[in-house]
Subunit: 230 residues, 2 copies
């Protein structure tokens, strides 16, 4: 029942952090895995045990978004999955534009992981005349960057993926932000700045590499039970 | 003072999890940032406030590895940085071999982020005769995959990066594991299996994309203070 007037509530101690959505993504994967295995109901404790997560954190994260469990049941797997998809905004198609059609940009345009996760590549841009008009191996046509504002203004770009060399990354980001795009996935190994209201995620291979280095350095001492989902 | 006999201790409540090394990497970045800003000492509370982290978690993580603070001071920035580099195994060079010299593999071979973080690309492999002998744009020569065992047995490969298409990823990983490589960074969008004692990190663009989708869906409500380091 939609309430027209919301009671003003005290600010909760819980706040959405930079890490919250990544945790929600992980819960979503766990639920997909449970659903595939035919597990109809679960609980924060069950999820924590199966996937080596923190039960209290799961409860906090879910409660904040109003996904309360059912007393005596816990959570219905498919209901909670649908709920999480909604919170994550995955219940609608998301259009991705890739800027930079070098090796990385072309590889990303054909990357099956995006398609598998339900994201749609709407365009691949470059400003090099030798590249414009050519295609990625998977058949994504390279368009001139000059066309980006028109595509963005038509509302087709939810997320811009930056795959240009580091020295030009900031200038490219500035021009994209000027078209009204609010979310950027940055593959260039440089810190980019955006105005308030625009969100950037930097893809960090190096954190993963440092984790591997850690496990090599610590040896079996640190070989915790692997998290199958991550 | 090295003790020849270690007292058997009770298992601590704290355990190294899949997320521990990523947190340590983040602390390391914070410390580098502080050092660059000329901040000589810090504390778990100071780090938590500056970088939107959890002070109790920082204390737990550091105490587990023996990085105790100094009473009345907290932590000396440069000492703690050196300590973390040691824990993460970053105080020695790490050699990376990339397997698969398609667009993604060649892009990774030239990726400046690896070099900036102190990792060294030792080889780029492919089994396509049309690719072998050619070079990435940055000058990394593509060698035949048949040479991988020799390079691995010489001890030059600490981490193998998998950049082959999903359908062949598992077979490629099996052959790499057979050469004794203990750490794998997987870019193929497929779940790969490895025996105990081998560590895999999957590079997940989709979790980052889902986070961006979350921020788009939740709007300003979810616009937490951005974490500058991540």
């Amino acid at each position: 029942m939609p309430a027209r007037k919301k009671k003003k509530q005290r600010a909760p101690a819980y706040a959405v952090s930079e890490f919250t959505p990544a945790r929600l993504s992980i819960y979503l994967r766990c639920l997909k895995d449970l659903e595939k295995s035919g597990v109809k109901t679960t609980s924060s404790r069950d999820l924590a045990e199966r996937y080596h997560l923190n039960a209290a954190q799961i409860r906090k994260d879910l409660a904040y978004f109003g996904a309360f469990g059912v007393r005596g049941v816990g959570y219905y797997t498919s209901d909670l999955k649908a709920h999480l998809r909604g919170i994550l905004g995955l219940d609608r198609p998301l259009g991705i534009a890739i800027v930079g059609a070098g090796n990385l940009g072309r590889a990303l345009a054909d990357y099956q992981g995006f398609h598998q996760a339900g994201f749609q590549i709407v365009a691949l841009f470059d400003n090099d005349p030798d590249r414009v008009g050519r295609q990625s191996r998977g058949g994504v046509v390279i368009r001139h960057s000059d066309e980006l504002p028109d595509v963005a203004r038509a509302g087709d770009i939810d997320v811009a993926v930056i795959a240009v060399p580091a020295p030009v990354a900031q200038a490219v980001v500035d021009s994209i932000v000027a078209t009204g795009v609010k979310a950027i996935l940055n593959f260039s190994p440089s810190a980019i700045k955006v105005p308030a209201g625009v969100k950037v995620k930097n893809v960090e291979f190096t954190i993963s590499l440092e984790s591997l280095s850690f496990f090599l350095a610590q040896g079996s001492k640190a070989n915790a039970a692997p998290n199958k989902i991550l």
